[in-house]
Each structure stands twice: as structure tokens, then as C-alpha cells.
């Protein structure tokens, strides 16, 4: 490997390692969760974190924002939250000439990193206010379109849908998230570390290790990662196998799935696999990368039917069947 190339690769890997370390100073455990968050950021995708309150979801997002040196904004979603509270609104102001004109007052969405906390506590109307921003990185107010600062990430947290006072996210909204990550209860060692770090007088602080420009460069690199045709086809077959009417769909998919993953799911899967490959120091996408990113990229895009809910079948169970039915030959 040429010296120049080796240096570049080593630099990327070193940067990502430092990001992990800094996040680890504040957010204890959940290494896999952190890696997947970084993958989504490198791929330019939005992340939906799901977990019960108190697991550190908000802390993780705040820490990432700080480590990456990104402008950070937080919106606490409540049932009475309006779309204008997120996007912004036109307000009547008096100009220097004494005229009264409407001026756009930017909402908290104009940030690089938006934390939509407990997003499913707002009404679907408010939730949908994020649609255009998440997909096109811009918002339209009063016929005027405003570009969002890049990179733009939405890191949303939500409580499990079964909880009181929650509104399920619209399918179109959910589909715009690249990943849906499950935040689980930390283990014994992690809990000890959490207690030690948060109940003493010393509060750990994460430093900034990755600039906005570096992050943008990483996102470009991710898209340049080569992928062989058979690996790409494998990703497509995986996505298609989540549809109950597909020939290669496993029995559980036929029985429990109402809608399979969309083409956007395939895009997310491939992009995530590319980012993961780069993150582990490889310069091509493999089928193993597809498997690794399969769950977080597709679990929120599969709609189960009533029978699955009645029998307590989870999406991950169905996805496991899909992987088993589609071996990487």
C-alpha cells in the first residue's frame, strides 16, 4: 500500500477511535450502539433511538454533538408542540424604514444536530414537520424554502409505543430514519460505571475531536467505498425477502409481515454497509457488512400485521428468519 494511502487510512481510523473514546468518557457502555450511531452519521443518516426513559439516550446524542463539533439543538416533543415550534415561523417585524414586514424566525431545526427528544409524544402533524427537513435538508415556510446547515442529522428518541401519551410515528416519517437503534438497560459493570461517574463531584466532559469539515469528508469517503455487484445484489435480495409476496421470503415473513422494506431501506442498508466497512478499516463492502447493518437499517421499515402482534412476534425475529433464508453464498 502506498505511503500516502496508508496515512489516509490510518488517519480515518484514528479519528474514529478518538471519537469513540470521547463518547465513552460520558456515555458508558453500549459500544455497539455508539458504533452504529457513528455509522449513521458517517453515512449521513438520521437515527431513531428507542428505549424507556432514563437509559441515557439524550446524553448520548448531546455527547455526540459535542464530540463532532456540530451545532446542537434539542426539541422536547410534547402533545401541544406545533410544527412552527420546530421549523420556525414568519413574524411581523418593523424594518429600519419603518415598514412592517414578515420575517422568518428560524426554529431549532436549523442546527447540524437536532435532538428530537421523545418524538412520539407529539402529534403526527408535528412529527411530520420534520419530513422535508430530514429528506431534503431544507424547510419551506410561507412559500419560502430555507436550506438547513450541513451536515444535518436528526437524532430522535422515542419511548416504546405501548407507553401512555405516545403517538406512533407515521410510516413516511419512520422510513426517513436510516437506523432505528434499541437502547437497552445497561449491564452490571456499566451500571457501576454510570453510578460512579454521575454521583460524584467530577463530571466527565467530552472533547471535540472531529470537525465539521472532517465529518463531511468522511461522508464523501463512505460513498466512494466500492461495492461488488454480487454484494449489491445480496442487499437487494435481503430487502426483497422482507416482502410477504416475494418468492424467497421465509415463512415468517409471509405470515407476520404486512409491508416489507422500501427501496429507501436498500439505500440505507448499502450506505450503512459502506460506512461500516470503512469504519472497520476495509475499502470494500462485503456481505458480512450487509448482515451487520441489516437489523438497524430495516427493523423500523417492516410493518407487522395483527397476527404478529397477537403472537408477540418481534421484527427482529422476522429479520433473523430473512437472514437465515438468504445465506451469503
Amino acid at each position: 500500500m502506498a505511503a500516502e494511502s496508508r496515512d489516509e487510512v490510518l488517519e480515518v481510523q484514528e479519528t474514529l477511535s478518538r471519537v469513540r473514546r470521547e463518547i465513552g468518557k460520558v456515555f458508558v457502555g453500549h459500544a455497539s450502539l455508539v458504533d452504529e450511531m457513528l455509522v449513521a452519521l458517517m453515512a449521513g443518516g438520521h437515527v431513531l433511538l428507542e428505549g424507556v426513559p432514563g437509559l441515557g439516550k439524550t446524553l448520548l446524542v448531546r455527547t455526540i454533538g459535542k464530540v463532532l463539533d456540530l451545532s446542537f439543538a434539542r426539541i422536547q416533543f410534547t402533545p401541544d408542540l406545533m410544527p412552527a415550534d420546530i421549523i420556525g415561523t414568519n413574524v411581523l417585524v418593523q424594518s429600519a424604514a419603518g415598514e412592517r414586514v414578515f420575517q422568518f424566525q428560524r426554529g431549532p431545526i436549523f442546527a447540524n444536530l437536532l435532538l428530537a427528544d421523545e418524538i412520539n409524544r407529539a402529534t403526527p402533524k408535528t412529527q411530520s414537520a420534520l419530513l422535508e427537513a430530514m429528506q431534503e435538508n431544507r424547510v419551506t415556510v410561507g412559500g419560502q424554502t430555507y436550506e438547513l446547515p450541513l451536515p444535518f442529522f436528526v437524532l430522535a428518541t422515542q419511548n416504546p409505543i405501548e407507553m401512555e401519551g405516545t403517538y406512533p410515528l407515521p410510516e413516511a416519517q419512520v422510513d426517513r430514519f436510516m437506523f432505528k437503534l434499541q437502547v437497552t438497560t445497561p449491564g452490571l459493570d456499566d451500571m457501576r460505571a454510570i453510578i460512579d461517574r454521575t454521583t460524584t463531584g467530577i463530571t466527565p466532559e467530552a472533547g471535540t475531536v472531529l470537525s465539521r469539515a472532517q465529518l463531511t469528508g468522511l461522508q464523501r469517503l463512505v460513498r466512494d467505498v466500492p461495492i461488488a455487484s454480487h454484494v449489491r445484489d445480496y442487499a437487494i435480495q435481503l430487502v426483497l425477502a422482507t416482502h410477504p409476496d416475494n418468492d424467497r421470503a421465509p415463512e415468517s415473513v409471509r405470515k407476520y409481515v404486512r409491508f416489507g422494506a422500501s427501496p429507501r431501506g436498500a439505500q440505507s442498508l448499502v450506505l450503512a454497509a459502506k460506512a461500516w466497512a470503512l469504519m472497520v478499516g476495509r475499502f470494500n463492502v462485503s456481505r458480512e457488512d450487509m448482515k451487520r447493518m441489516f437489523y438497524p437499517a430495516l427493523r423500523h421499515r417492516i410493518l407487522l400485521n395483527f397476527e404478529a402482534e397477537a403472537e408477540g412476534v418481534s421484527v427482529d425475529t422476522v429479520l433473523a428468519d430473512v437472514l437465515a433464508a438468504m445465506p451469503a453464498e
Partner: protein, 472 residues
């Protein structure tokens, strides 16, 4: 982007070896298919033809093997497929396949990541060992090759049982051809006799035609048998012609009849057995009765001999009415009800043909002597295996035994003295050899029968007491 040369060579070598290995495997499978097919086809054809058809079985098996080899799944071994194979074998996570695929792109400017990829792939070339990745090893299926080859070699030889092929017909055809040859030889001899008897020319010609049709399988075997009988009868009728009675013609007639008997031998028992039972009548050739379909109820045909074969229709006890010495040509009759023989004597009493004594398959008797009213027939036994002994001194050998009532109505109480009253000359029949063979039969009967050991001497003594000359 250009693939590293060393890497490309190794990938190509792997592709070549994979192709060769697949060809070898297809060859082994084809050989297996061929040998298996050969074994099956060879057995089937061999059974049908009595061991023949080796080349046909081989050709069919060869075709099957080639078809199987060509029909076996074939893969296109390209550089890309070889790269994927190496990736899977060495755990390279699609590095080489991706590099090979991107190397084939025309407008590939090459991003930085792609350059890293090609360098990374080139670094893997040192770990690629084509010999280790694709070893030329004998396929697992080859373990069946040795036993199949042995089976093929064994089946290449005519190891098929004659009995089975005989039933199916292979050997039967050979036998028919052999008989046809014999007919041709006989026809030549008849041709030579035809100088004295021109009417025999037609017989010879017909004989040739029968042989020809028999050989070419145009003539059914039963039909051929019938024609042979007709020819035989035609030849037998020669003495009744204008030359009958002439002294100089006696030898010719004997020759003709000898040829007729040889013709009878061609229509021998084995042929009859193979060609099916025939419902022929009891035509005799100088004491050689023709076998009939009913005959097989009580015994097999004896070997055809010049001195006669058992024949005539037997309806129960094998008491054949065979004219042995008479030359009157009158049919003999059996005096036992239900034992009437249907044999008709037409031949004169020549040395060769007259005086035939039927051979018996039982060595101690050759049947009940028939006291024919017109024919001087003596009982000719059933098909025989052993010749019997002719007794010259009838009067001495047939001495009455104690307890027997003689022709004069007297009861013999002691050893007979003197001669028995003689029968008319034309009704004399020779005694059978039963008395002289009795001891051996007794011994054998004692051995064969389930006689308790303690009683054997008693039984033996009883029979010995019955022996002529043993009583008081």
C-alpha cells in the same frame, strides 16, 4: 484501475485449476455413469442373448456415460468467479472480487478508496496458493470406480447361465443353426445315393430348404420338426418302391434308412425338448419309435441310438408295444388293458434297424412284455440309461420259482427242471433281464427304503429266497 499483475496471475491460475478440477470430476462421473450403465445393460442384453451383445452394451454404456458427463453441471470459471472463490476460502470478505470487478470498469477514474482497495487486494496475493486452494484430488465418487470396473470386466465375459439363456432363446438359435448344418451334411449324402434312387434328390433338396430356413429363422421350429418327420417317412417308404426285394438294393435301402435314422437323430430329444412337445404319431424306424407328447409323463427320452428309442403312445405304464424282431410291419399290441401301444412297424428286420431293444431307465425291467396277437413285439422299456443284458439261454434263466403256476396249471413247489413250453416261433419274445439283476436291485432297495436296521437281513433273505435257484 489496473489489477496487480501478481494478483491477477494467481487468480487466473485458480480459475484454471477450478476448471480442470471440474472437468476431472465430470470425467469421473461420466466413467461412473458409463460403468453403471454397462453393468445394467450388459446383464439385460446378456440374458437375452445368452452372453452375446458385448459391443452393443458397451456402445450404449458409452453413450450414457458421455451424456451423463456432458449433462453434469458446468460452471463458467472466470477471473471474477475465481476471485469470489478465493475470497470465500481465505475469508477476504469480497476484497478480491470487488477489486477484479472494478478493474474491468472502463470509465473507472479511481477514487481514493478504490486505490486503497487495489493496494489492499495486491497485498493479499502473497497468501494465495492455487495448489492449496484447488487441489487435484480424486473425487469421492471414484471409490465406486474399482468395484464397477471389476464388475464391468466380469460382465464382459459370457458368464451367463446357459439355462436362462436357453429359455430366452439365444442358445436355441445356435442349436437350430447347428442342426441346419447337420441337415446340409445329410443332404449331401442323400445326393450321393440319389444316383441309385433319383427320387431321393427331391428329399435332399427339401432337406436343404428346411436347413436353410431353419438357419435363417424363417421357419418355425415346430414346422421344421414336422417337415423333418415327413422327409423321414418319405425316405422310409423307399423300400416299398420297385427296388424292394431286389438283393442288390438291400444295401442302398439300409443306407437310406440309416440316413433316415440320422435324420431322426437330428430331430433328437434335446431338440424336441427345446422346440416343444410335438404330437407326432408313433412312426418307427426299425424299432425306433417316435417320441410323443404323452411320453414325457413317465420318463425322458433316452438317447437316440440306431437301435431304437422308446416310443409309441403310452397311456399309463410304459408298456411300449415295439416290434423288435418282426418284419411283417404289423402294429404290435399290448395285451394289458390300457397299455396299447400305437407304434407301427414298417421296417424290415435288418441288422441295423431291426431287433431294437428299448433302453430302460430302470435297470431291472424294461416293461411288461406285450403278447401281441399279430406283431411279435416285446416290451420296450421307457427311456433307458443302461443297456440290459440279453440272456441267451431263456429256458434256464426263466426257471419257474416256487409258488408260481405254470402254463400247464401246475404249481411249482420246488426248483424247476427242464424247459418251459415254447411259444410259437413268431410269438416268441425274449425274456427280460430282471432275474439276473435282481440281487443288485434288492441291495439297492434295501439301502433306499426305510427299513429298520434289525430287519434288513430278514428282508434281504426274503428276496434272496425268491431268487431263481435259491429256493428248495
Amino acid at each position: 484501475m489496473v489489477l496487480d499483475e501478481a494478483l491477477r496471475d494467481r487468480i487466473d491460475e485458480v480459475a484454471r485449476r477450478r476448471k480442470n478440477a471440474e472437468l476431472m470430476q465430470a470425467g469421473v462421473r461420466g466413467a461412473l455413469g458409463m460403468l453403471s450403465a454397462f453393468a445394467v445393460v450388459r446383464i439385460c442384453i446378456g440374458l437375452l442373448t445368452g452372453g452375446k451383445g458385448w459391443s452393443l452394451a458397451f456402445l450404449l454404456a458409452l453413450a450414457a456415460g458421455i451424456t451423463y458427463a456432458l449433462g453434469s453441471p458446468r460452471h463458467k470459471h472466470t477471473r471474477l468467479s475465481a476471485a469470489r472463490f478465493i475470497d470465500s476460502q481465505l475469508g477476504l470478505e469480497d476484497r478480491l472480487a470487488t477489486a477484479v470487478e472494478y478493474a474491468t470498469l472502463d470509465n473507472n477514474a479511481g477514487t481514493s478508496v478504490e486505490r486503497w482497495l487495489f493496494v489492499d487486494a495486491a497485498n493479499q496475493a502473497a497468501f494465495i496458493d492455487p495448489d492449496e486452494l484447488v487441489p487435484y484430488r480424486v473425487p469421492k465418487e471414484a471409490r465406486w470406480l474399482t468395484p464397477l470396473i471389476i464388475a464391468g470386466l466380469v460382465l464382459s465375459f459370457p458368464v451367463f447361465p446357459r439355462g436362462l439363456s436357453w429359455q430366452i432363446g439365444g442358445a436355441e438359435l445356435q442349436q437350430a443353426a447347428k442342426r441346419a448344418d447337420e441337415l446340409f451334411a445329410l443332404a449331401e449324402q442323400i445326393d450321393r445315393l440319389a444316383t441309385a434312387h433319383p427320387e431321393l434328390r427331391q428329399v435332399a433338396e427339401e432337406l436343404r430348404q428346411v436347413g436353410e430356413q431353419l438357419r435363417s429363422k424363417k421357419l418355425p421350429q415346430d414346422e421344421a420338426l414336422r417337415l423333418l418327420r415327413e422327409l423321414e417317412q418319405e425316405m422310409q417308404q423307399q423300400p416299398a418302391g420297385p427296388l424292394a426285394g431286389a438283393e442288390h438294393a438291400t444295401l442302398d435301402i439300409a443306407q437310406i434308412q440309416s440316413l433316415a435314422q440320422r435324420l431322426r437323430r437330428i430331430d433328437g430329444p434335446g431338440q424336441l425338448q427345446g422346440w416343444g412337445r410335438s404330437a407326432g404319431g408313433g412312426s418307427r424306424t426299425g424299432g425306433a419309435p417316435v417320441g410323443t407328447g404323452e411320453y414325457d409323463e413317465y420318463g425322458d427320452y433316452g438317447d437316440g441310438s440306431d437301435y431304437g428309442e422308446p416310443g409309441g403312445e403310452s397311456d399309463g405304464y410304459g408298456a411300449y408295444n415295439s416290434s423288435r424282431t418282426g418284419d411283417s410291419g404289423q402294429p404290435g399290441e399290448a395285451d394289458t388293458p390300457g397299455n396299447q401301444g400305437a407304434g407301427s412297424s414298417r421296417s424290415g428286420g435288418t441288422a441295423a434297424s431291426g431287433g431294437s431293444a428299448g433302453e430302460s431307465d430302470e435297470d431291472w425291467t424294461d416293461g411288461e412284455p406285450g403278447s401281441g396277437t399279430s406283431g411279435a413285439g416285446t416290451g420296450a422299456g421307457r427311456g433307458s440309461q443302461q443297456p440290459f443284458e440279453r440272456l441267451e439261454n431263456v429256458n434256464r434263466e426263466l426257471a419257474p420259482i416256487p409258488g408260481q403256476i405254470g402254463p400247464d396249471g401246475k404249481l411249482y413247489s420246488g426248483q424247476a427242471q427242464g424247459n418251459l413250453p415254447s411259444a410259437p416261433e413268431d410269438q416268441q419274445h425274449r425274456p427280460v433281464a430282471a432275474p439276473s439283476s435282481t440281487p443288485a436291485a434288492v441291495e439297492r432297495a434295501i439301502e433306499q427304503e426305510n427299513v429298520p436296521l434289525a430287519y434288513r437281513q430278514w428282508v434281504k433273505r426274503y428276496f434272496e429266497a425268491l431268487e431263481p435257484g435259491a429256493g428248495n
